[in-house]
Amino acid sequence: MIVDLPSTTTAAVGRKLVELRNDVGAVALGRVLTLIIVADEAEAADEAIEAANDASRQHPCRIIALLSGNKRGASRLDAQIRVGGDAGASEVIVLRTHGPLAAHGNSVVVPLLLPDSPVVAWWPKAAPPDVSASAIGQMAQRRITDAAEVRNSWAEMALRADSYQPGDTDLAWTRITLWRGLLAAALDEPPYEPVIAATVTGGSDSPSVDLLAAWLAEALRCPVTRGRTRAGTGMASVRLERRGGNIDIARPDGAVATMAQPGQPVRRISLGRRELAECLADELRRLDPDEIYAEALTKGLPRLDRGTKTRKGSRPS
């Protein structure tokens, strides 16, 4: 069910929510968190809401999408409520602010937060330079950004590293969880030898590749080289060098990976790219600070040997 409330107030939105809940029964109870989606354009927000609806099947939540409309003209708030079949296991409130109100989006969000429940903020596209200091960021325990959606992801990550606060996280990091799991599992097996060097190769524009390299550099304390493939290709391969031979995981086609190790046949494993909804559901699973991400971001990235191109300061194309 979709209910439009043009030119309204948050009190009216709140009343309507209670009314809808009474009409359709107690379905709106049992929500575990509020997810605030901050976006400028309706298109970006719709894609994000769809992913959040999917994720809400695992984490029932109230989704508040905050869109800023035209900043000129009079202050106005347009709202839309979606419940039931149009909202997965969640309830969605789309708030569009106009005029001077657009600069004070947080004020319309506060009255609609679930009582005494965690707040997660998500910027599906561009995010403010210092997310935790932003008005929305301040009310959230968990702040999700997505460096892959920004043009200069390397500069973006430098920003995130400078302003990192516990609770910050980035979907570029979530996307490589399966890769990290595979690499960790590889070191679970004998021979137990230190990794003396590593190479992480992938799309020149992919912050995920940078983060994976940074994570390895920080955890393994060995030189890590960042290899580059065409922009848009995502993660391509990882090599861990050990005295007894190399562990190679390669995913040339973006779907199936091969894993080669000395003394072992080449093994295949499906390693598809993770969908947005899956990544988001993953993010919502844990609301405590991700210290491993913090270390990779703030300590690992500076350790990287980023290849000649970027050393000169030019952005990889």
């Binding site: 107690a26 379905v27 109870l29 049992g30 809400s56 099947r57 695992q58 984490h59 029932p60 997965g88 296991a89 979530t174 969880t177 399966l178 990290r180 799991g181 595979l182 690499l183 960790a184 599992a185 070191l187 679970d188 097996e189 004998p190 137990y192 030898e193 230190p194 990794v195 003396i196 390895l216 955890a219 393994l220 304390r221 060995c222 779907a255 199936v256 990976a257 894993m259 190790q261 072992q264 046949p265 093994r267 295949r268 494993i269 499906s270 390693l271 598809g272 559901a281 993953d282 844990r286 405590d288 991700d290 210290e291 491993i292």
Partner: protein, 513 residues
């Protein structure tokens, strides 16, 4: 800067603070006996695919089928594909399927043919070479227990079951774990002679369910329930597992076994153990099992079994808008069968916490609807400062843990009816895991198969628990065996009158779940 050390115990990429990192099993394969059974095609194979799809299976994971069929690898592959397409929880992705299919093998043969097991050994050795499974094998015996002895013996004499340096062998068995104490012990010694007790994984799929694991969270992660969780406040506990279906095509298995052996012995007593046990020192397998065993060993049957048990057999009736036949008219059931399709019994627990609090267990087929729940029913408030008419409709408070379907927790308490008069009536407060929770949360079998491959035992009952369960059930079965026919009950209802009488004698009634 010197690189971080790597040892068997210290993997620098596994930081305990890194809670995202998935648990991926080490290189291994799964050998499946009984590939055409319902369980294999509806649960095991789809679960394996779902695990693969979620990236939780190791690279090179292989699945070997063993059955008396004249099949090539491709034929078996087709069977698996069919079952995955029909029953997998996650969408079928071509690339995932292709890489899984590359590791699917089939070994034709009968259980008593040593040559077939030689071929099986060669097949898994080949897999070690080709796909790097490193000699780690899990044997899943999805076969009737009568064949366990033969299969275990063959696994032993072909050398398949011997642990080798740095590699593991595990065996997975499903209920029924025997049909009484004696047969359970026999079964255990058959499997135990071939596999070490730590390598035997008994699957009770209830324990893989999120809601069942949530019992532990509800009780031990919270402050507000545990203080009430004892004889001071609890009046009694009802544990129900009702099925709306009949026996279907399971006549051969079900007849002679009956509801109590089929469900109470394993699922319901496990639920009872989790509901009634003391707080474990930790959630490590040994500590958890220690507490479960303690409470199971404190169970006691009432002395008069005629008054504290009930059993029934469904007769024809209308079930959910459909006319269904009675048990005795089902295919493959003889007209003289005395197998019960409904069983209820009262159990007391001799501990300080539960003294005087009866636990009522019931299960049945062709009941009103499909539901499994644990209801902890509280005593009435000792004094009600209302007039009697005001609280006429007030029942007893209850916490209901709904296991399936519609997983969640319900709290039942009194609330004032709006209006000028003071009138108090029961209301429900509901916690649900979200309406579509089951679609995206892992299925019990996924969790359990992954735990087998990881060698993580907390969710698998130990042999001692199985024995304790039989010790409580054996006298009941012996008593029933002397009493002739079970009481009839119409399909679609809530069991025989004798079950209601059993509650009435105690001044209680069954919940309508």
């Amino acid at each position: 800067m010197s690189p971080t050390r790597v040892t068997a115990e210290m993997n620098p990429l596994r930081d305990p603070r890194d809670k995202r990192l998935p648990r991926i099993a080490g290189p291994c394969d799964l050998v499946l006996f009984g590939v055409t059974g319902d369980l294999a095609t509806k649960k095991i194979m789809p679960a394996i695919y779902d695990l693969a799809n979620r990236g939780l299976l190791p690279p090179g994971f292989s699945l070997v089928g063993f059955a008396r069929r004249d099949w090539a690898h491709e034929d078996f592959c087709k069977i698996v594909h069919e079952s995955v397409r029909a029953h997998a929880r996650t969408p079928l992705r071509e690339e995932v399927w292709r890489s899984l299919a590359k590791g699917i093998r089939f070994v034709p043969g009968t259980f008593d043919d040593p040559k077939a097991f030689d071929l099986l050994r060669e097949t898994v050795q080949q897999l070690d070479k080709e796909r790097g499974t490193r000699g780690n094998h899990a044997f899943y015996l999805s076969i009737p227990p009568a064949s366990f002895a033969t299969v275990c013996q063959q696994l032993h004499s072909s050398g398949l079951s011997h642990d080798t340096e740095g590699a593991w062998r595990r065996v997975v068995i499903e209920k029924p774990f025997g049909h009484d104490l004696e047969s359970a012990r026999e079964l255990n010694s058959i499997v135990g002679n071939v596999f070490a007790s730590g390598s035997i994984f008994r699957i009770d799929h209830y324990l893989g369910k999120e809601t069942v694991q949530n019992i532990l969270a509800l009780r031990f992660a919270n402050q507000m329930f545990e203080p009430l969780w004892n004889a001071n406040y609890v009046d009694h506990v009802q544990i129900t597992m009702a099925e709306d279906i009949g026996i279907g095509a399971r006549a051969g298995y079900y007849d002679g076994i009956g509801a109590a052996r089929d469900v109470i012995q394993n699922h319901l007593l496990q639920l009872l153990a989790l509901t009634a046990m003391e707080e474990p020192v930790s959630f490590k397998a040994q500590d958890l099992r220690a507490e479960k065993e303690k409470v199971l060993s404190a169970m006691r049957l009432p002395t008069d079994l005629a008054k504290s048990t009930a059993r029934g057999q469904y007769v024809e009736g209308w079930q959910g808008g459909e006319q269904v036949v009675g048990y005795l008219d089902e295919d493959g059931i003889t007209a003289s069968s005395t197998t019960e399709t409904y069983a209820a019994l009262k159990i007391e627990i001799d501990t300080r916490r539960w003294a005087g609090v009866p636990f009522y267990l019931r299960t049945g087929k062709r009941l009103g609807k499909r539901v499994t729940e644990i209801a902890v029913v509280f005593k009435r408030a000792p004094h009600l400062p209302f007039t009697e008419t005001a609280t006429e409709e007030l029942g007893q408070n209850a916490i209901v843990i709904r296991i399936q379907p519609d997983e969640g927790v319900t709290m039942r308490f009194g609330s004032k009816v709006p209006g000028s008069a003071m009138e108090v009536r029961d209301v429900n407060m509901d916690f649900g895991y979200g309406s579509s929770f089951t679609e995206s949360s892992p299925e019990a079998y996924e969790r359990l198969i992954l735990d087998v491959l990881l060698g993580d035992p907390p969710l698998f009952p130990r042999h001692e628990e199985v024995e304790l369960a039989w010790q409580i059930l054996d006298p009941v079965e012996a008593f029933w065996a002397k009493r002739g026919r079970p009481d009839p009950y119409p399909a679609g209802g809530w069991g025989p009158d004798s079950a209601d009488d059993m509650m009435r004698r105690d001044g209680r009634t069954w919940r309508k779940p």
